[in-house]
C-alpha cells in the first residue's frame, strides 16, 4: 500500500502550503473577529514584489524575504489604518464587505501594473531533491514547512507569554474593557495586521517560487482554501490553523485517490460544511462550551429607510414599462434586461440577507438550480417554457433551502462562509454529475423564451416579460414584508435570542425566507437559461453572488425598491463606463469600499 504513503505525504505537502495563508487568517481573526478576505490579495502582492526582487533587482534570498515582508507589512498597515479602522464602530458586516472590496482593488492594481500573464518566479534555493516515499521534495518544501510551523509557534508564544500578546488577546475578547485597562487598541490592531500581512506576503512569494508560477488569479484560490483550513482548525486558533491545513490537504489527497481529481474541491468544501455543522468552533474547541453571550449589537446598521411615496414608485414602474416604445436601442434594452434578471436575484438576497440577516455568499447556486431544472425540463421532456421556468423556481426553493439548511444553526460570519462553500459545492456537483447536467460540456440548444406558444425573441418582448416577472415578485415580497412574516424575519435578524424566546423557531422562518427567495432566484435563473440558449457550470458563479451582495448593500438591506435601484445602477454604470475598460473592476471595488464606509445602510436605507 505504498501509494497511501505517497498520498499522505502529498496531502501534508499541499497542507503545508495552505497553512501559510491559514495562519495569517487565524491571527487576524483572533484579534479582530474578522475574516480577512483580502489575505489572498496580500499574498499576491508578496509574490509579485518577490518577482521584482528576484528577477529585476536580483537580490539575494534573505534580502528578498525582508523586502517582501516589509512591503507586505506596509500594505497591511495601510489596509488596517484606512480601510478597516474607520469601520471599527460600524456594524459587523462592514469589515467583512470592506475586505472583499479591498481584495478587488489590490488584485486589479497588481493586474494593471504587471499584466495578467503568468510569469515564472525562480527559486533562489539550491536545486537538491530528497527522496521521500517514491517521490521527492526539495528545499522549498522544507522552508515552507519551517516558516509555517515556526510562525505558528512564535505567534502562540507571543500571544500567550508576552505583554503585547496579552494585550492582543484582551482586545479580541472585549475591546472596550481592554481600552479601559489602558491597552492601546489601535496599536495592537496595527501590530497584528502588520505581522499577518508580512507573513501573507512572504507566503505568496514562497508559494510562487514553489510552483515557479505567479499570476493574478492565485489570490482567490488562496483565500478560499485558507478560510476552509482556518475554520476547520478553529477560527482564531493559530496552531489549529496549521492542523486544519494539514487535514484539508489530506482530505483532498485521499479524495483524489478514491474518486478522482475532478472531485478534489468538492471534498474540501464538504469538509468545511461538516465541521461547521458538527463543531462550528473548529475541531479543537470542546463540544459544550459556555454558550457565547451573543452581542446585542446587530449585524445590521440601524437606519431610517427612505420611504418612497407610492405615486413615485408607480411613475417609475410606468416609465420603465413604456421605455421599449421609445426609440431606444436594443443595447439599452438588453442592459436593462440584465438588470431585471439581476434584480430578481437581488430581491431574493435582500430578503434572506437583509430582512432575515443571513448574509449568503453562495446565492448564485439558486440561479443555477433554477436554470438547469428549467433547461432540462424543456430540453428532455418538452415541457412548455413558461411552466419549466416556474418549475425551476419551485425546485430552487425546495432544493436550495434544503442545501442551505445546515447553515441555519450558524451565526454571523460563519453563515457567510458556509453559504460560500455550499455555492461552490453546487457548482462542483453540476460539473461532475454528467448523466444529468452534461458536465462541463453544458446544455446547448435550450429553447428560447416563449409564452402560450408565442416565441419571445425581440429585445422588447424579452424586456417586458422579465420586467413584468420582476415587478410581480417585488410586489409579492413587499406584501410579505408588511405581514407578520416581515416583522418575524426582522426580529430574527435584529436579535435571534429574543426572537426565540417569543416563539419564533429559527429554522422555520429561515427556511421560509429561503423558500420564497429561492423561488425568485430560480425563476431568474430559468429565464436566463432560455435567453442564453447555452449554460454550463461556469455560467452562474461566485462572482454573481458577490455582485448580488453589492447590489443589496447599495440599495439597502431588506429594501425591495433598493434592490431594484441597486441592480439598475450596478448593471448600467459598468456599461456606461465601458470606456474605462480595464479600470472597471477597480472602480467597482472602490465603490464597494466607499459604500461600506460612508453609507453602510445603503442608498435607500435598511428596512
Amino acid at each position: 500500500m505504498s501509494s497511501w504513503l505517497d498520498y499522505t505525504i502529498n496531502g501534508l505537502i499541499v497542507g503545508n502550503v495552505y497553512a501559510l495563508v491559514a495562519v495569517g487568517l487565524a491571527l487576524i481573526f483572533g484579534v479582530s473577529r474578522l475574516i480577512n478576505f483580502a489575505q489572498g490579495s496580500i499574498y499576491l502582492v508578496g509574490a509579485y514584489v518577490g518577482w521584482v526582487a528576484v528577477v529585476q533587482l536580483r537580490t539575494p534570498l534573505v534580502v528578498t524575504v525582508i523586502l517582501v515582508a516589509a512591503v507586505a507589512a506596509l500594505v497591511g498597515l495601510i489596509i488596517e489604518r484606512f480601510g478597516l479602522r474607520p469601520l471599527q464602530n460600524s456594524v459587523r458586516i462592514a469589515p467583512l464587505l470592506a475586505t472583499i472590496g479591498i481584495s478587488f482593488v489590490l488584485d486589479q492594481l497588481v493586474m494593471l501594473t504587471f499584466s495578467p500573464n503568468p510569469r515564472a518566479l525562480p527559486s533562489q534555493l539550491p536545486d537538491v531533491r530528497f527522496q521521500i516515499g517514491t517521490g521527492t521534495i526539495g528545499p522549498l518544501d522544507l522552508l515552507i514547512a519551517g516558516v509555517g510551523i515556526t510562525s505558528a509557534l512564535l505567534l502562540f508564544v507571543f500571544l500567550r507569554y508576552t505583554k503585547l500578546g496579552w494585550a492582543v488577546r484582551a482586545t479580541a475578547q472585549d475591546r472596550d474593557a481592554a481600552m479601559q485597562m489602558g491597552v492601546d487598541v489601535n496599536r495592537v490592531n496595527q501590530t497584528v495586521f502588520g505581522i499577518a500581512a508580512a507573513l501573507g506576503g512572504v507566503s505568496g512569494m514562497l508559494v510562487g517560487m514553489y510552483y515557479n508560477q505567479i499570476d493574478t488569479a492565485m489570490s482567490l484560490q488562496a483565500t478560499l482554501k485558507g478560510v476552509v483550513a482556518e475554520v476547520v482548525g478553529g477560527a482564531g486558533n493559530v496552531p489549529g490553523a496549521v492542523v486544519g491545513s494539514m487535514l484539508l490537504g489530506l482530505v483532498e489527497s485521499y479524495g483524489v485517490a478514491a474518486f478522482g481529481t475532478s472531485y478534489r474541491n468538492l471534498f474540501a468544501f464538504l469538509l468545511l460544511i461538516v465541521v461547521l455543522v458538527l463543531r462550528p468552533n473548529g475541531l479543537f474547541a470542546s463540544a459544550r462550551q459556555a454558550p457565547p453571550e451573543p452581542l446585542t449589537g446587530t449585524f445590521i446598521a440601524p437606519s431610517r429607510p427612505v420611504r418612497l411615496p407610492r405615486w413615485a414608485l408607480a411613475i417609475a414602474v410606468g416609465a420603465f414599462a413604456l421605455l421599449p416604445l421609445l426609440p431606444v436601442s436594443a443595447y439599452v434594452l438588453q442592459t436593462l434586461i440584465n438588470a431585471w434578471l439581476l434584480g430578481m436575484l437581488a430581491l431574493s438576497l435582500t430578503l434572506v440577507a437583509g430582512t432575515v440577516g443571513q448574509v449568503s455568499l453562495g446565492h448564485a447556486a439558486l440561479l443555477a438550480i433554477g436554470a438547469y431544472t428549467s433547461a432540462l425540463l424543456s430540453l428532455r421532456l418538452a415541457v412548455p417554457v413558461g411552466i419549466a421556468i416556474i418549475c425551476g423556481g419551485l425546485m430552487s426553493a425546495a432544493l436550495g433551502t434544503l442545501l442551505i439548511s445546515p447553515s441555519f444553526r450558524l451565526r454571523g460570519h460563519y453563515v457567510s462562509i458556509a453559504t460560500l462553500a455550499i455555492g461552490e459545492i453546487v457548482s462542483l456537483v453540476i460539473l461532475n454529475w454528467e448523466s444529468v447536467t452534461n458536465g462541463p460540456i453544458g446544455l446547448s440548444g435550450i429553447p428560447p423564451l416563449s409564452l402560450f406558444g408565442y416565441e419571445l425573441t425581440s429585445a422588447s418582448s424579452v424586456y417586458w416579460f422579465s420586467f413584468a416577472v420582476m415587478v410581480l415578485l417585488a410586489l409579492l415580497q413587499a406584501r410579505l414584508l408588511t405581514s407578520h412574516l416581515g416583522r418575524s424575519f426582522r426580529a430574527i435578524r435584529d436579535d435571534d435570542v429574543a426572537a426565540r424566546a417569543y416563539g419564533l423557531g429559527l429554522n422555520r422562518y429561515k427556511a421560509l425566507a429561503f423558500i420564497f427567495g429561492g423561488f425568485a432566484a430560480g425563476v431568474s435563473g430559468g429565464i436566463a437559461a432560455h435567453l442564453y440558449s447555452y449554460i454550463n457550470h461556469e455560467t452562474f458563479n461566485t462572482q454573481q453572488s458577490i455582485l448580488a451582495l453589492t447590489v443589496v448593500i447599495l440599495g439597502g438591506l431588506g429594501n425591495v425598491a433598493g434592490a431594484i435601484l441597486g441592480s439598475v445602477a450596478l448593471v448600467g454604470l459598468p456599461e456606461a463606463f465601458r470606456i474605462a475598460a480595464e479600470y472597471r473592476i477597480l472602480i467597482y471595488g472602490i465603490v464597494l469600499l466607499l459604500l461600506v464606509r460612508f453609507r453602510p445602510q445603503g442608498l435607500l436605507g435598511t428596512i
Binding site: 498520498y7 521527492t136 443595447y331 461556469e538
Partner: protein, 383 residues
C-alpha cells in the same frame, strides 16, 4: 534629368493623381471599416484578450501595408466581456445596433459565445469565433462561423503522434475539466483506441488548480507508459514539473494548446523532452509562418508568438478576406464567408470553409519536442 526619368516622373504623378482620384471616388472611404470584438480584457481570462490584441494588431499592420480593404483601413473596437455571458449578450446587442460594425469576432469561452449567438443570428451580424471550440457553436445559425480547430480533426493528429509515432501503448490522459478539455479528451480517447492503444486512466482537473501531486500518484498507479496533456501552458508546465517531482519518468505528449514560450519559461528544466503536437513551429518553412513569426518578433521586442496569437492573427486575415469579397453589407459578408478560398493561414495552411458545418476542415501538423529549452522538430529519436 534624362528623358526616362522625366517620363517616369510624369507617369508616376499621373498614376498618383488617378489613385488619389479613385480613392476619393469611394464615398466615406476615409472612415475605417470597423469590426466588433467581444472578449476578456479583465477577469480570469484577461491574458488571452491581450494575446488576441497582439495577433490582431500584427495582422492589421500587414493588411494596411498591402493597401487595406479595397483602399480602406480596417479597425476593431474591443469590448470587455470578461468572458461572462451576461456581458457578451449586452455587447452583442450593442454591436448589432451599431450599423458601423460589419462583423463580430469572439468570444473567448463557449458560454459567453453561445449565449450571444441568438442575438447575432436574429440581428443578422456574423459572429466569427476563433477560440471557442464547442462543437455546437456553429449550430446557432448561419451567421455563426468558426476557424477554431475542431477537436475532431486535432485529436487524431495528437493520437497519431503519441501512439503510432512515439509507440506509446498505455496512456494516461490529463485534461482541463472544461467543455473544450472534455470534448478533446473524448475525441483523443477514441482516436487512440482506433490506433490500437489503451487509455488506462483519465483525470479532469479545474483550470486554476496548482497542486497535481496526488493526481499524478493516481496516474502512476495505473501504470501508463506515457502521459498525454490536454492543457494550457500554465497548467501544462505545473503538471510537467510535478510529474518529475513525484517520480514519473514516462514520456509526456501534449496538445497544441501548451505551445507557447511561456510553457518553456514556467516549466524550466522539467519540460525538457516533452512532445507537443502543434500546428506550426519556429522553423516551419511555410512562408506564411515565417512571415508571422518574424514580424511578431519585430513588433513585440523579440517575444515569440504562441498559439493564441496565431489564432487571432489568422482570424483577422480571414475576416479581411471575407470583407474583400463581400464589401460592407452584413448579409453579403455572411455569404462571403462561404466564398472565402485558400486564405494563407498559420494554423491551417490555407483556409476554405466547409459550407455545411461553417468550420474549416483539417489543420497543419507539426511534431515538436522540447530540446535544450527550445521547441524543435522531433527527429524521430526517442527522448
Amino acid at each position: 534629368m534624362s528623358n526616362l526619368d522625366r517620363r517616369t516622373l510624369v507617369k508616376g504623378s499621373l498614376a498618383a493623381m488617378l489613385i488619389g482620384a479613385s480613392r476619393a471616388a469611394f464615398a466615406d472611404s476615409s472612415e475605417p471599416i470597423t469590426l466588433g470584438v467581444s472578449g476578456p480584457l479583465t477577469g480570469p481570462n484577461a491574458q488571452y484578450g491581450s494575446q488576441w490584441k497582439q495577433g490582431f494588431d500584427l495582422a492589421l499592420d500587414e493588411i494596411h501595408a498591402a493597401g487595406g480593404i479595397n483602399g480602406r483601413k480596417l479597425a476593431y473596437t474591443f469590448e470587455d466581456s470578461q468572458s461572462d455571458p451576461r456581458q457578451s449578450v449586452a455587447i452583442a446587442q450593442k454591436f448589432v445596433s451599431d450599423l458601423k460594425i460589419v462583423m463580430e469576432l469572439g468570444d473567448f469561452s463557449s458560454p459567453a459565445s453561445m449565449a450571444a449567438s441568438p442575438i447575432y443570428q436574429r440581428g443578422g451580424l456574423v459572429q466569427f469565433g476563433f477560440t471557442n471550440s464547442h462543437p455546437d457553436f456553429t449550430k446557432g445559425g448561419d451567421f455563426m462561423w468558426s476557424t477554431s480547430v475542431s477537436q475532431a480533426d486535432e485529436q487524431p493528429l495528437l493520437a497519431q503522434y503519441a501512439v503510432r509515432h512515439l509507440g506509446l501503448k498505455k496512456l494516461a490522459v490529463l485534461h482541463q475539466n472544461t467543455d473544450w478539455g472534455r470534448t478533446s479528451r473524448d475525441y483523443f480517447v477514441k482516436a487512440a483506441k482506433d490506433d490500437g492503444a489503451e487509455v488506462v486512466v483519465t483525470e479532469g482537473y479545474i483550470a486554476d488548480e496548482r497542486d497535481f501531486r496526488s493526481t499524478l500518484v493516481r496516474v502512476r498507479d495505473a501504470n501508463p507508459d506515457g502521459l498525454v496533456l490536454i492543457s494550457y501552458y500554465s497548467d501544462g508546465a505545473l503538471i510537467a514539473r510535478q510529474a518529475r517531482q513525484v517520480g514519473l519518468t514516462q514520456t509526456i505528449c501534449a496538445a497544441s494548446s501548451v505551445y507557447s514560450p511561456k510553457f518553456l519559461e514556467l516549466g524550466g528544466d522539467s519540460v525538457e523532452g516533452v512532445h507537443i503536437g502543434t500546428r506550426y513551429f519556429p522553423e516551419d518553412p511555410r512562408p506564411e509562418v515565417q512571415k508571422f513569426i518574424t514580424s511578431f518578433k519585430a513588433k513585440y521586442n523579440g517575444v515569440e508568438p504562441d498559439a493564441f496569437n496565431a489564432y487571432s492573427y489568422d482570424a483577422m486575415n480571414v475576416a479581411a478576406a471575407a470583407l474583400r469579397i463581400g464589401g460592407t453589407d452584413r448579409k453579403a459578408i455572411r455569404d462571403a464567408f462561404a466564398k472565402v478560398k485558400d486564405v494563407p493561414s498559420v494554423i491551417f495552411g490555407s483556409v476554405t470553409f466547409d459550407v455545411e458545418t461553417r468550420r474549416v476542415k483539417g489543420a497543419m501538423n507539426a511534431e515538436l519536442v522540447v530540446r535544450k529549452g527550445q521547441f524543435a522538430i522531433w527527429d524521430g529519436k526517442p527522448t
